[in-house]
Subunit: 356 residues, 2 copies
Amino acid sequence: MKRILLFTVFSLLLCSSCKKEPATSETVENVSSLTETSKENGFAIVIHGGAGTIKKENMTSEQEVAYRTKLQEALDAGYKVLEEGGSSLDAVQKSVNIMEDSPLFNAGKGAVFNSAGKNELDASIMDGKTLNSGAIAGVKQIKNPINAARIVMDSTRHVMMAGKGAEDFAKLNGIEFEDDNYFHTEKRYNQLLKAQEREKVVLDHSALIIDTKELIDDHKYGTVGAVAIDKEGNIAAATSTGGMTNKKYGRVGDSPIIGAGTYANNKTCGVSATGTGEYFIRTLATHEASSLMQYRNLSLKESLDGVMKQIGDLGGSGGLIALDRNGNVAWSFNSTGMYRGYKKSSGENVVKFYEE
Amino acid sequence: MKRILLFTVFSLLLCSSCKKEPATSETVENVSSLTETSKENGFAIVIHGGAGTIKKENMTSEQEVAYRTKLQEALDAGYKVLEEGGSSLDAVQKSVNIMEDSPLFNAGKGAVFNSAGKNELDASIMDGKTLNSGAIAGVKQIKNPINAARIVMDSTRHVMMAGKGAEDFAKLNGIEFEDDNYFHTEKRYNQLLKAQEREKVVLDHSALIIDTKELIDDHKYGTVGAVAIDKEGNIAAATSTGGMTNKKYGRVGDSPIIGAGTYANNKTCGVSATGTGEYFIRTLATHEASSLMQYRNLSLKESLDGVMKQIGDLGGSGGLIALDRNGNVAWSFNSTGMYRGYKKSSGENVVKFYEE
């Protein structure tokens, strides 16, 4: 039985004096002037570090401090980019980098192991202003997969690259690589051994169905994501993951798929997803959230809630973080917890893990 | 300058006596009884063999006959499945198989060559009743990629598999493989040589921008797809492609991406796309068509038109085929032509290539 937990905070309403003037032929030509007039708009960033069985009784105070510190560091880094007038694209990339570099999350350094004992990484990023997008899937040894996704977006006509070809492209473009040792964390390796042992047991019993909840908790735990709106009112979203422990057959989840794991559109909102990826693909979760806002005039909170209802009805589990073009922040998840937080130019700063 | 050509045909309206009774607690339990009551509903299939510069003055009468014959064969094969009470999933798979086995289209046997001189194949399929989906990306030597996508859907918890892992999975599941010679067609190989020559010329001139239209015409030409509704009212959609000539870096286009190249939902419609894939990803073209029907109450024709407008505005080119839950068939494209056709239980049978 799943429950959908929602938490939405409405940010400061943009004061009417800060609104962009209706574009005239002059102002349209003069982009920097437009930029100046909107400089004082509010900005915000929201992040997640994965959804799953996250309960207070299972966490030591040391673990709580570690997660809280790292999430705050990621928020602060992205926020600083926004505060200094940087783009939402740079902000989400920066926040995701901090989480990719931490062993706490299933992305970059902390990525889980596939069935061959390798760390296979996926990431995607989207620019809500232009709908430009970049994604990489099934790459190995790339320190910060979101940086490779960004290069695909910025330097090619393509949206998605996969496997060896994507690695070759990243190398050509100066993306940082690390050897396998960098990605080897004891926690993740033990998860692989446990998953392989369980699979053996499952095969021994000829059982074809593995409890979905168990799979979620152990296999998909800690995908990271960020969504931001900058002073220009541009929205960006980014997601990075190591996928599922013990994954086989080149399985691709939702994280590198535009409209499933990541979506951003200045007309509506930006969204990043985490959870049982297949359900987020089948519902086009992040694009669906945008469509519910755009075509049904739902609020950001109602839209995320509606998508998680669709996912829950299909049997899926996980969560979404988002912010809309007015700087409202929302999240929705049907797991017991989600590492998450936001920081806004109004001064609000929140980091949470559990149902609350 | 692009023009959007639309062509929509409204099928027989389902007679009110054939409509499903409102579900009571009894009928919900008794699925087979529900099935019986809807047995006499109309059924239909619509297919495409790619969009691009397809002009009457460039086609010989022999070529016209060859394309017309093969498209009719694909329609007939899918229609026969539906007529005999088979599922829309089986019907679209069958129609796509016929086109995959023909050297005329850029899928299966007729797939284009990547930059390494290999044929890399993508495909996806979706069940509108359950939203179950299957996709494979970047696989080699699989005779009928859509069959592998179907196996991913039917036999795993996953939606998408890519590369070597997907090939391993397909082999384990008895999917038919062919050696490279099977996929070697002179026409496609010459296209590769031409593309590589042009790239060399382009590099010699340090020109970074290649005319998009030229790229479309030579690189992406003949992706195949099918959408069907069966006697039970279930919609399915499928798409299969060899991607872009001379493609590099493991580029993944829209064809294997659910919501971009392929989407089906019994609540609304089924859609298959062909064209400059990146624009169909960024707009989530096939999911967007469904959303416009569901949330804006647009007709199928209006929805496809709206999506092609979005794609055209971004600079993209190509087309969509679709049918809705009432058996209406529609297509929309902004290229000069699209190989396409439909066949309905009302007796209508149409095959077209050009603007008309």
